[in-house]
Symmetry: C2
Subunit: 269 residues, 2 copies
């Protein structure tokens, strides 16, 4: 069978924190880390919560049926990073109650792992990521501007709380433990890197009190790389093989390229 | 048929200038520009020339047979950016004679466009990109260090020339004209942005006399975006539709997600 064109991938599934392709973002850093090894597929959807993630999942993951026909890219690693929007205060349209958030995360995991799931893929390794801390005052001030532009009333009404970020981060860790999955504790990692959780201390890590600067993503990325190396060593960016010969080998014998293709078609690469 | 998991893509095909996923690179800027619209698939292979690109092409593009079975991601746009390595001086292992370079570029184009090609895809739009100018002295100095580390002799022997960069850039433009394809003249664009082609003028655009800084990529990216908008307006990043509903619409009616999936499965999205 001739090559179908795709290579194995890392899928980043989440909200706006995942969606960003900016310089220094998680996606950019992961794409650089896995360059020529695994494609990084960004499935971040700004504003989405764990509830809406479930129907979206059907649109981003191939079914077993397709995979068995060799019709789909293999997802070797999937990061699931929801909770930041679930954790908005009750009454906000994105809010998902804590227990429902936990159930949703478990459901997403089961869609990948359960033999009953049409999307099951035993090859897909999962890493959960918790929501980061939030800068209440900075975010409320930012949101007030947005609401003013939208001509909304009650622009200074808080939509998020420090405490909720902490609770939803803990809930994500609880699900990880229950599902026996590795988790990146973005909440704790950022506070550790900041030296505390005051708004002054957190300021360098956030653009608007909620979304990461490159410095914030750097902390998350380093923690994710370490988690992958510890939990899934075969997926450690330094261990995954590059999928095309080095040019210096091609210069000696151009046929190494075709040999690589033949091996791939025989499933040896 | 349930969703096979992939979305349409932009493929960046080329050498190390394409391969880079660093902050500010072409790939990062394109991925950001087409975020949630088209996947950006990086098929850059450092050190490769147009000769080696041909067998590689078979490994990165699905056959018609697979596409017709709905087994492959559709490549809506492909940038082909070779020439920088072809243009090394005669005697260097990457060197490809000018006429052969032109024939290779035409061959790559025919693999996408010719009805005789098993890889033909009428949906794939092509943009050629020329090699940029080279800073002879800076590159020779950089290479000398690398050769010393490798314990090679004759470390100061020049491997590239300003004149060859100009000739290979012109050759790429000749092929574009002959194939009636849009071309990004990276050579002219960078010299224009630099205000001249002296090494002092070009310095801010290159890390080592050959590879782009973020500032160099910015010039290339802006020229590419304009070329796409002019030649393939339907692929203009501002015109391509985002492929998942906005969260604010989902908040009103979560079913918009499933409606989008059904439309996609009917080929309407």
């Amino acid at each position: 069978m001739s090559y179908t064109g795709y290579t194995d991938a890392v899928m980043l599934f989440g909200d706006s924190l995942t969606e960003a392709w900016s310089a220094g973002s998680l996606a950019q850093r992961m794409a650089e880390a896995y360059s020529r090894k695994l494609d990084v597929v960004n499935r971040g959807f700004g504003g989405y919560n764990s509830e809406w993630a479930i129907p979206v999942f059907r649109q981003i993951i191939a079914t077993k049926e397709h995979r068995e026909k060799g019709m789909a890219q293999r997802i070797k690693l999937m990061t699931i990073w929801f909770g930041t929007n679930d954790s908005v205060l009750e009454g906000e349209s994105q809010h998902v109650p804590l227990d429902k958030y936990k159930a949703n995360l478990s459901h997403l995991v089961s869609l990948v792992r359960s033999p009953m799931s049409p999307y099951q893929d035993p090859q897909t390794q999962i890493v959960l990521i918790t929501c980061p801390p939030v800068m209440e005052k900075a975010w409320t001030a930012h949101l007030a501007k947005v609401r003013l532009e939208r001509g909304e009333s009650d622009v200074n009404k808080p939509s998020r709380s420090k405490e909720n970020a902490r609770l939803y981060a803990q809930a994500c860790k609880d699900v990880a433990e229950q599902e026996e999955l590795p988790v990146v504790d973005a909440y704790a990692e950022v506070i550790r890197a900041a030296g505390g959780d005051s708004e002054d201390q957190l300021a360098p890590f956030f653009t608007d009190g909620l979304h990461f600067t490159a410095k914030g993503y750097e902390v998350l990325f380093q923690a994710l790389v370490k988690t992958i190396a510890d939990s899934y060593p075969e997926l450690d960016q330094v261990k995954v093989q590059r999928r095309m010969p080095e040019w210096s080998d091609v210069a000696v014998d151009q046929n190494v390229i075709n040999i690589a293709l033949d091996k791939r078609n025989r499933g040896e690469l």
